[in-house]
Every structure is written in C-alpha cells, then in structure tokens.
Point group: C2
Chain length 629, copies 2
C-alpha cells in the first residue's frame, strides 16, 4: 500500500479532520466502484468515526479476540463504506480490497457488515438491532466478566423509531451501563425523506434522558466537540451516555449534502466529489491498544449429573428444562440464562435460583431478550434465552439476524401448542416450529419426556448455532430411562415390526398420542410403527426413509399449524428423487379457543383417536404411484 | 337475572366503589368457576374500569358498530375476568354465562378477549399490543374520519417494557392524539415478581411525558381521583393522556393483595375472598350513549382502470404494486396505505402522492406499522401495510395476533429473496413465505409480472383476512396481457403438452427461470410443463395433482429458504392419501453474501441452469412407488 502514514502516532484535531475527509473519500470511492451502497449515510458520521479511532477506541486489530478490546457496532449497518474505510485507515483492510471487492460476489466486505470480518461482532442491516446487542455486550463486560472494555454503538436517527431501541435504552439505563456509549448520527434524513424529529436534538435527548442515560448534544462535524463528548462519556459513572450529534447527510459534497433523494446510491459524480473533499489521502491512524485483560476461564463441574426422572412419572418437559439448565450451569460456568419475565412459567427460574449471577432478567421485551443473549454470546458466553414460545415471534427479526451473525444461541420456548388449554390462542405457539426451522443453520428440538428434555438441553450446548427447544406446559409421562441418549438429528423408533402397515410420527405431546393410537390399532389388528421425531431439524432421514420403505404410509400428528412443522420436516426427506410415502397430516387447522388440554387436542384432531382413525383409513388406501401417461 | 339495578342512572362515588367491588367479586367468581384465570390482575384495575363505565365511556352495547362508540381495549388481556365482569355490569353478558362458560370449550368468554365478542375490537393477550392498535383506532377517528369517539386502553405495568409500547407512545405523542387515553395499572407485580420500576410512578411519567404525552399520577383505587384524571384526559387538547395509577394487585383480599405468587391463578379461598369483598352484588351500570355520528361512507370510482403493462416490457413488480395500489385507492376510498419509512423503495409512495390524506407514515417501526393497520381496520378501513419483506419478521407477533383478531389486513413485502443482489442477507426476505403461510387463514401471493401484480393487489381487496403480497426489487419481463385474470387459489400453466415429462414450478423471479429452463430442456428433447404458482396459499391443488398425474416429476424453485415456502406449499396437495410426485426442491440452502442478482440466483442454485439440470436428472429417475414388504 502506497502509505503516507503520519509519523506522529497521536493525531491533532486538524489531522483528525483530514482523517474524516479520507473516510468520506474512501466511502465515496467504494460505493462508486461497487455501483451501489450508502455513501451519504457514511459521510454524516465521518467525524464521529475518525475521533473514535484516533482518540477513544482501544482495539488491537491484529488480535480481534483480545478480551480488553473495545466493541464497535455499526447499528446503522448501511454505513458499511464508512466502517470499511475505517478498516483501511487502521491498516486492517487494504485499499485494494475495499475498491475491488466491496459488495462483490465472495467478498467479506458485504453491503452490510457481517462477522465474516474478524472485527465485526454481529451482522447489522436490520435497523434497531445494534444498540440492543451492544447492551448485551456491555452488560457482559460489566456484570459477568469485569472487563475494562467500552462498547460503542453508532446509530442512525431513522432507526430510533424502532421499539427495540427503547427496550435497549431502558435496559442499559436501569442497569447503569456506563461502559456503553451510543453515537447518534442525527443527519435529519431517512431513506425516503425527513425523519420525524429532524434536527430537534432535544427531542431525542429528552426521551433518552428519561430512560436514565446521560446525554450530550453536539455538532457532529466539530472534531473538538466530538472528542470532548467522548471524553465525557468515558468519565460518566453509573449511566450510559448518548452522544447526540447533529450532522449532515452527504456532508462535504454540495451536490448531495443535506438533500433528499440520495439515500443508498453512489454519488452522481464521484470524481468531482472526491476533488471537493480534497482528494484521495492515505492517512493511517494508530488505534490505542486495549488494556491488558484476561477473560475469566469459566470453570464448572463437568461431572454434575443431569436430573433423572423415573419411568412412568408425570413430569412437564418445562420442569425438566429448568432443572437440566441449572445443572448445565453447574457443569459449565459459561452458561448464562436469560428470562423474559416468565421464568416461573418457563422454569428458567430454577437456573436463576442456582446461579443468580448468571441469570439475566430482561423483563417482557423479547427483542432485548434475544439481543442480550446474542451480546453475551459475542463475549464468549453460552446463552439460553427463554420465554413462552408464542412470544418468540416478537423476536423473529433478531433471530433471523442472529443466524446471519452465526451466533451460538440457545432459545427455549414453553407453552407450545393447543395443549396449554384454557388460556386461548394468544398464548399458544402454533407457528414457532415453522419460524425456527426456516432460520438458516438452525436446530429444532421438541422433546416428549423429562429425561429426553434433560439430555437435549445439554446436547444443544455442544452444537454450534441457533438451537431451539420447544417445551410443554402440562405433564407428560416419562417414557425413556435417564441414561438414554438422544443425538441431535436422531429419532426413536418406539414400536416396530417387519410387517408394520403404517408409521405414526409425533413429537412432544403428540408422541404420547401416537403411542396410544398404536395400542388402539393393535387391538383391531393393525400394526403401527411409532417414531418419536424429537429432532425436527435436522431430521432423521434414514429412519424415515426406512419406515417409508416398510410401511409406505405415514400419519404425522403435530400440535402446530399445518404449515412449516413436523409434516413438512418429514416430507423434506423425500424430495430430490426419493419416493414419498402416502402421508396424512394431522395438525391444528382451526383457530382454537379456550378449553381443557384434552378438549383442545380432540378439537384439533391430533389426539390418539384422530391418529388411529387416520391410520385405519390410510391402511385401506391402495399404494399407487403416480402413473404418467 | 336477579337484578338489583340502581334506579338512579348516575352513580355517585360510593356507588362506583361498590361497582368496583362487584367487578372484583365477579372476577374472583369467574376464575374460581373456571379453575384458572387472572383474578388478581383484574382486581387492581377495578376502580379504573368502574369509573370509566359509570362516568366516561360512551358506548351502546346494543349497537357495537355505532360509529360514535368509544373504543375500550384491554391491552392487559389476561384481565379478561374484569372485562367480562364489566360486560355483566352493563347487562351485555349474563352472570350465568360468565360463571358457567368462562374459559370453557366453545365459549366466547375466552381466557384472553377476542372479537368473538362483539364489543371486543381486537384480540389481546400478547402484551404490548393493545396500545399500538389503540393508536391506529384513535388516529382513524381523528385523522381519517373525524368521529367523536375516545379510545381507552388499559395497560399493565409489566407490558410497558415492550418496545412496541414505545413505538405507540411515540406515534401517539407526535400525532397529538388527544382522543386517546392510556390507563396504566401500576400494580407493581408482574407474573414472576416485582416489575422493574415498582410503584415509582414518576419513572413512568418522566418517560411518557418525554414522548409528548400528558400524564396524571393517581391512586388508582381512589374513585374521585380516577374520575378527575379521566375528566382531565378528555379535556386535554393536542396530546394523548396517560393516567398512571398506583394500584395493588389482588386489591381487597388480604390473602393475596400485593403479594407475590398469585399471578394467573384463582384465589386460594374464593368464598372467603368474596365475603371479604362484601359479597355478591347485582349492580347494573348505565353507560352513556355515544354521540350521534355517521361514519363517512367511502366513495370512489370503481371504474378507475388498473395500470396496464405492455407484454415484453421490463417492470419491477414493486412498481406495479405502487401504481395499482394508487388506482385501488381511487376505486375505493376506504383503502389506506401504511408505510414503514421505505415508501420510495416499496413504491407505496405512489399511493401517498395520489392520496396523501390516506397515507400513514409509521416510520421505521414495523410493529406499529402493522398495529396501526389493524387499528384503522377496526374502524372500517381497508389497510395495506408495506415494508421490506425481511423486516415484516419484526411484526410477526402482531401478524399472529391479527389472525386471532380475524383482521382484514393486507401486507406487502418488497425486496424478497437473494435476487435483490448486493445489499446482502440482512435485507433479503428468505423466511417471509413460511411466516405468512403459517398464519391461520392467511392468503399468500407472489406475482412474477406487473400485470399479474396489479390484478392481485386489487384481488386481495375483495378477499377477507390477512393477505400477503411478495414483490421483487428488480425488473422482470411482462408475460401476461393486462386483462388476464388471476384468481386467488389459482395458478397458470404456461407450458403444457399431454406428454410432458416433468413439471417446473416457480413463482416471482423463479417463474422466469423456469420458463428459460423449459426452453433449455426443449432444445435437448425434454418436454417440461411450467406452472406459475402465484397463489402460494391457498394453492391450486387440482392443477398440481393433474401435473403430478401426467408428469410424475416436479422441480420446484423458490427464492426463499427451503423450509416453509413454495415446495412445502406444493407438497401440501399430496398429503392425506394423494400419491406424491418425485420432487426436487431448489431453494436458498446457503447463507448468501453480496453479489449481483444473477450471481445470487446462480449461487443459490435457483436459476434456469439449475432448474434444467435438476429436471434432466429427475426425468432419468425411475418412477417407483414405495414398496412395503
């Protein structure tokens, strides 16, 4: 690189202003080279970024895993040209890489940042997520690990309308996260035009102060003011700080500065813009190293035994989840449990009693629940976030982004399905399997008994990625011995004979119904295979194909809407040329109301009677293939 | 009913206090009879409800559709015993119905309120949704219809941690909705224990005032104070009012009052509790009638022609959506468009230019976007809410609840799939079809060309329920003439012959790839049927079964993750005894990065080359059925 790095490692204000211009120029160049991108949204935050790099960030770009490293999250992920220009300025990315690969196929410099880059904690680009996750990162450093880093989150003004941002402001304010600084780039212009509050900085400050934050209002293009605000932020004790910076979108290029219609596109005349910005520079900024720090090595007693339940006892899988999670917390001190103010119902509270220092109450704010989990995961913790499965839909976008972030995140949803009974449909998860299965790289588990649940809670810990466990409100009989193993991707064939005529497939509550249905069928001479499909994703293809070969007929019963759940998981095994069995899909086709669990299962047509009736009908259906003319 | 209705139709303070005790007693009785429910959460808000009924609500329970009726939304839907007790007190529900059907199978008195009851606007029970929807109701009355009603929303304190509540507070405050009053029942105790702010009323007031609301802090059990606060709320101009009421959970029964561990369960000793509360009463409260008012009858020019696009032109379906929606707005003046601050990208802005008075900017707050839509829907409007399809995941729980509310709601998601190109995965909807299909009673449409899009935009208007339209960022060729019809539940067979060997199925961008693949296949002598599956739900079962009979082999290509989308919709037709075709599922199995649209489609394996290759392989696979031993 044809570098003209400054000799003096500490930049003065004028040099920082030059650095800011360089960041602008490189953002303009990157977007021009790519033919797309968000240069104007980058240009407004150039001084905020330049001052941060030159004076306040503590980070070793050669060792992104250093425990003392500050965390810098671009919540306004569309300002990726600015972030990548900063990486060029610190020498972490070459100018050539920026100008030839940005937004191109195979590049790590994507349109919005992802952890393909070693310095990026989490993917951003869905607005309003960076600050919530930053809260988890800051909380981790302050409360779990006592590490000296600061967390800096650059937010746009348009994203401040997201409720998730206010969940984050509330949690950070009440937790007193003084190691967290939000840099609010108030450039007045959103994607489609002016924001709600324009440059009324005080409208933001009033709101944010009310949430327990310290606020500083500044001219975001005044290097000295930015520097002073960041100094003040670092010195503020007991409260996080929001630096509310009045800026101009497209700052420095008259053709676009503070004008509508230039969001998310390269500048119309990049060469002229670069000249107007003072031309290409090759300044190198020296970022201060992190304080030496060691992340505590989590201990634990790996021999702590999982809970054991007696065959035949009636135990709710949610109870087994809570008890197993508490043991997992003893085995592994990196495990953290997060609650959405329902820990008494999900039974996460059992972990909370055993390990209060690693139990994080996120109150009823499911987006912040998942974001905090992702944040502590960034800091090396293994998070288990739990709430009612129905309310996980509230965090769908955070789960989607966690998949893009390649987060190692465990999610547990209780009170699944109509079997909860009288509370009615608002509390019933009937969409959660579909939601969790569709997430890229996810694991989806749905245990039917307490010993299985305990094993799967522990099993998820060793399985990287987003893992979902669905639990049941009511008690179910223990059918597996405590030492039975349940590999992820496996299943259990509970009834089988070489002459089985039909296969009954269930998981969770419907597995018990399938077993009862098999008994009913035997009574009138029909031999049914029964498969416990506890691993909904990945699904046990081999066992299902074998069952199809032998029986040719499947009845799948699930406590879920018909789309996206167990039946679809079963059918996946038979795509791509594998002949499909005849399949009857029993699921919740109707909108339930209030009723007892038994009435609900009956009304939905997913109980033993419905399964055996469907099986009887199916065994009388001839096995014909499609017969093309 | 053994009524002892007061002769005097106006209750004095002491009588209202008695009424509050009656509401408590009836809540206790209802939960005791049902064996479940939330009496303690009901008891804290008894005076708030009693004063509202006796002095401030204007409502004709015999005519729930009266345009002048106030709207009362129990955002804390678990306080349903209180709501139903109120219905008893006004004479709308009999004591017998309450005591014998509450929470039972088939009852309209569900565990959480739903619009099965004619006086309930929307289902609640997922916390933090009532106030956002109330904002839509209030906005409708103030801005769209100029109706005299007030909207009253009863919120719990635990739900105030939901970001969606702050989206609502922000919108109501900035819109100056002085016809909206939030009744905040600050009883200090959430489900699992104390709330974050306990009885620190000022912590709530500070935050809410910062959002532009008028606030009043009161003792929520002081009838005169409640009355005065409601009078003040009604008199306040230019701002909504929050009545922040300090209350005691379980108020009036020493065994449970202000104690932990009694959430969501009947009182341990209901008979004693009823005695302590002064016994059963049969007061009848006379609610003031609504002001006479007429809802404007929406006009419109039903002959306004839909946009027409020329065969062969390149037009993005998002453009056709915007243009068609603007015409629909001319045809039907009840149509309202709602934007999540991306109307320039989704093209909803075209409607905004044509009908600014019916264009509601919700800024980047997707939960409030959907909630506002549901709210204006309650008031007789037909809402079309749009944003990037990826960000609709943010509103998943609101969509789920809208299904329980039986809302007539149209949702449009743009920028679907990897075909958006360089922006990367955060902006790509790859889960939306699964999410929308799983909603109970939903309609899911995915057009491939501009004329089809225009027809489907209009078609959704006549189809009650949640309707989803998925649009594409880039241009696609117009392949249908402008007068072609596209019934919901239909499909188009674009290539077919009696001796077709394989069926290629696509929708949206992949339909064009399927057509190109068919051309490639013809070149080497393979005859492929091509189906445009624009109606993903309901799906055209008959056409798919016929294609299966004739070709026996399907290749399904979709710009979506493999779970829950087009392939699963296709396979639905073949459950329940219908023999399945051999099926190859082409979908986005990987995590995309940045790239051009063509590179993305190639990398995901969903372009013409991938489809034709899969088809070639499939036609060489023998059609065997499963063969049970």
């Amino acid at each position: 690189m044809n570098s003209m790095a400054t000799q003096d490692r500490v930049l003065n204000d004028a040099q920082i202003a030059e650095l800011a211009q360089q960041l602008r120029v490189d953002a303009v160049r990157a977007a021009a080279a790519a033919g797309s991108g968000h240069p104007t949204s980058s240009m407004s935050a150039a001084e905020l970024t330049a001052v941060l790099l030159a004076r306040h960030l503590h980070y070793d770009f050669d060792d992104p895993a250093a425990p003392g490293n500050d965390h810098l999250i671009f919540s306004k992920g569309h300002a990726s040209p600015l972030l990548y220009a900063a990486y060029v300025a610190v020498g972490a990315v070459s100018e050539e890489e920026l100008l030839t690969t940005y937004r191109r196929f195979g590049s790590r410099l994507e349109g919005h940042p992802t952890p393909k880059l070693p310095w990026v904690d989490v993917a951003t680009g869905s607005l309003g997520q960076g600050l919530p996750i930053g809260v988890g990162v800051a909380l981790s450093g302050k409360r779990l690990d006592d590490l000296p880093y600061r967390t800096w989150v650059l937010c746009g003004d348009s994203e401040l309308t997201e409720g998730s941002v206010w969940e984050a402001l509330e949690m950070a304010g009440t937790e007193g996260l003084d190691n967290l600084t939000a840099l609010l780039d108030i450039n007045r212009l959103g994607q489609r035009g002016p924001t709600r509050h324009g440059w009324d900085l005080d409208s933001y400050a009033r709101r944010i102060r009310a949430f327990g934050w310290h606020t500083v209002e500044i001219d975001g293009h005044d290097v000295a003011a930015v520097d002073q605000a960041m100094t003040e932020a670092a010195a503020t004790r007991g409260a996080p700080t929001a630096i509310i910076a009045r800026t101009r979108k497209g700052r420095g290029v008259a053709e676009v500065e503070n004008k509508e219609g230039f969001h998310g596109k390269p500048l119309p005349h990049p060469e002229e813009a670069i000249r107007e910005l003072g031309g290409v520079r090759h300044l190198r900024v020296h970022v201060q190293p992190p304080e030496p720090a060691r992340r505590p090595t989590p201990g634990g007693d790996p021999t702590a035994p999982l809970p054991r339940y007696r065959l035949g006892d009636q135990v709710a899988t949610r109870d087994a989840f809570g008890e197993a999670l508490a043991v997992l917390g003893t085995r592994r001190e990196d495990v953290v449990a997060l609650d959405g103010e329902v820990g008494d119902s999900t039974r996460a509270g059992v972990f909370g009693k055993a390990h209060p220092e690693r139990y994080i109450e996120c109150y009823i704010a499911e987006q912040q629940l998942v974001a905090t989990a992702v944040g502590v995961g960034v800091c090396g913790r293994l998070p288990y976030a739990s709430t009612f499965a129905a309310f996980l839909t509230r965090a769908h976008d955070f789960l989607r982004m966690a998949a893009i972030s390649r987060s190692d995140l465990k999610v547990v949803g209780s009170h699944a399905g109509v079997s909860i009974g009288a509370d009615g449909p608002s509390q019933m998860a009937l969409e959660d399997l579909a939601m969790m299965r569709t997430l890229h790289g996810s694991t989806v588990l749905y245990p039917c008994d307490a010993n299985q649940t305990a094993r799967l809670v522990a099993g998820l810990a060793g399985h990287h990625g987003i893992g979902y466990l669905r639990t049941t409100r009511g008690s179910t009989p223990v059918i597996y011995p405590p030492d039975e193993e349940f590999p992820i991707g496996g299943s259990k064939v509970l009834r089988s004979a070489p002459d089985d005529q039909v296969t009954l497939i269930g998981a969770g509550v419907t597995l018990h119904e399938a077993l009862a249905a098999a008994d009913q069928l035997i009574a009138d001479g029909t031999r049914a295979r029964v498969i416990d499909l506890y691993s909904v994703k990945p699904v046990d293809t081999q066992t299902l194909r074998e069952a199809a070969e032998i029986t040719g007929r499947f009845v799948v019963a699930e406590d879920h809407h018909p789309e996206g759940g167990l039946s679809d998981a079963v059918l996946e095994c038979f795509g791509n040329g594998h002949p499909m069995p005849l399949l009857t899909r029993l699921a919740v086709h109707t909108m339930p109301g209030s009723a007892t669990p038994d009435q609900q299962m009956h009304a939905a047509g997913i109980n033993a009677d419905a399964i055996s009736a469907a099986a009887r009908k199916l065994v009388n259906t001839p096995l014909t293939t499609v017969s093309p003319r």
